[in-house]
């Protein structure tokens, strides 16, 4: 009886393992035709999305680009443009909040179809994703407590400060290039918290984010931003080799041409940063 039970159990366990693996291999085989195609021919990522009927947009909660309104609906300059783009493709749009560190894995693993969230076009991003043309200007700015802001208006004065920057961000690169002392933290928000808590003297974050998050009437009213370290641009990232990037460039051209892009930007106060398409 016991032996029988043991053998049964083994069979069930092994079978369940086999079932998993055979299932996924057969699926991947049947899929591989369409899956490997975009890499090779750059032809069918758009078809993949159209077949699915949904464009899954990977975002983070990032005012004014992607954030929730009172009805829990995703709005913002990026979110509205993404909705319009999906409509032009004739598919639904689904916004999924992701861990920003895992964006490339999410894309390649097809759990999302694009990253559309005020993403700075760095070498890392452009080499690992198929990126659209730049659509928005941004810069890295220095955040310091308001009462010491006068002393730190230019880059030469920054050397005595200890910085907090987001790991892997454009801000980290700028600080490293200037040979300043810094600590890498998980997000830009964490960097701000470091300054607010006094554990770091200063932080470097995106100017669009700084405009929305520090100063009078915000959560960080005792902080302010001083000098800008660089200028950079935002783009939208797709899977490597995807034809959706080109489709989006065409869409950007069209919507910039007819003024709907600027109109959308004005709604969220970022019209000054929009790049002509």
């Amino acid at each position: 009886m016991k032996k029988l039970f043991a053998i049964l159990l083994t069979v069930v366990m092994v079978l369940s393992l086999c079932a998993c693996s055979s299932n996924s291999t057969s699926d991947s085989q049947s899929d591989s035709g369409s899956d490997s195609a975009p890499d090779a021919s750059g032809g069918s990522d758009m078809e993949y999305v159209k077949d699915k009927g949904t464009l899954v947009v990977g975002i983070t909660d990032f005012e004014p680009m992607d954030y929730k309104d009172d009805n829990d609906e995703w709005i913002g300059f990026d979110a509205d443009m993404a909705k319009a783009f999906a409509e032009s493709l004739g598919v639904d749009v689904e916004f999924v909040e992701i861990d920003w560190d895992n964006k490339i894995m999410e894309l390649e693993g097809k759990t999302i179809d694009c990253v559309w969230n005020g993403m700075t076009l760095t070498d890392e991003v452009t080499s690992s994703m198929e990126c659209s043309n730049a659509y928005c200007n941004n810069g890295q700015v220095v955040i310091v407590p308001s009462d010491t802001a006068d002393k730190y208006q230019d880059t030469d004065s920054l050397s005595e400060l200890s910085f907090a920057v987001e790991a892997g961000s454009a801000g980290e690169k700028e600080v490293a290039a200037l040979d300043l002392t810094y600590t890498s933290v998980k997000t830009q928000a964490d960097a701000l918290m470091e300054v607010a808590a006094g554990t770091s003297d200063a932080a470097v974050i995106d100017s669009l984010m700084a405009a929305a998050m520090v100063g009078e009437g915000t959560g960080y009213d005792k902080l302010t931003y001083t000098c800008q370290l660089n200028s950079e641009e935002y783009g939208v990232g797709f899977r490597k080799g995807s034809d959706l990037a080109k489709a989006l460039n065409d869409f950007f051209k069209e919507s910039f041409g007819d003024g709907s892009m600027t109109e959308c930007a004005e709604k969220y106060g970022v019209q000054a940063a929009v790049i002509e398409q």
Binding site: K68, K110, T218
Partner: protein, 228 residues
């Protein structure tokens, strides 16, 4: 301080939504891991060598690697390597993947606790059962099982309380549990940005829930005391 009181209602309602995810993951994990752990325990105690080696191998893999890596592998591996994103990108898929990872992980820990509980029941009990002419399964269900349960309550309580806090690891695959909900207010969410206190406030939820669990598990332990 005034600002905190202003923000309180919005933050609490958002944290509640996150905490429901935490609770869902907690209960689903327990529901799955209790029986699966028992199966694995039988497997590793089996006299049929391949089965016991296999079970011990699985337990070694799962206990020998961090849960965070298991979450990443289980969620991303199908899409990245097999080119078949079985879980999908939505919230339901992330929850399912997290549940599978947690159930597997906790079943392995539970299995070792079960094994200790079963093997801790004196051999004389089983022998007495045999003398009375009971079958092996009768002996297990009528003699061993309840004594085992009594023995494993304290170590299981430990694991269960650890599980409550471990659910926060699921945020690595963007499952929006309570820590995620708390952190969202640092960057800006629901019109509140730069608020640090919600993240720390999540601790209150964990504390209260674990307090309730501790009381319940303590009562269970007392109830089982008549076995001595």
């Amino acid at each position: 301080m005034d600002r905190i009181f202003e923000q309180m209602p919005v933050v609490i309602s958002s944290l509640n939504i996150g905490f429901i995810q935490t609770l869902k993951l907690f209960f689903v994990t327990l529901l799955g891991a209790f029986p699966l752990g028992l199966l694995i325990a039988f497997g590793s105690m089996s006299h049929f060598r391949p089965l016991s080696y296999f079970s011990k191998f699985v337990v070694w893999i799962i206990r020998g690697t961090p849960l965070m890596i298991q979450l990443l592998i289980i969620y991303y591996f199908p899409g990245l390597v097999l080119h078949n994103p079985v879980w999908g990108g939505g919230e339901a898929g992330r929850f399912l993947a997290a549940s599978v990872s947690f159930i597997l992980n906790y079943a392995c820990y539970f299995s070792e606790i079960y094994r200790g509980g079963i093997q801790g029941v004196p051999v004389g009990q089983e022998e007495a059962g045999l003398v009375l002419g009971m079958t092996k399964s009768q002996i297990f269900f009528k003699v061993t099982l309840l004594q085992m349960i009594k023995r494993i309550v304290p170590p299981m309580s430990n694991e269960i309380i650890t599980l409550v806090k471990d659910t926060s690891l699921a945020r690595i695959i963007a499952l929006q549990e309570i820590i995620w909900a708390g952190q969202a207010f640092m960057k800006g969410s629901h019109g509140i940005s730069g608020a640090i206190w919600p993240l720390f406030f999540t601790a209150v939820y964990y504390l209260i829930f674990n307090g309730i669990l501790t009381v319940l598990l303590g009562r269970l332990e007392k109830k089982l005391n008549y076995f001595r």
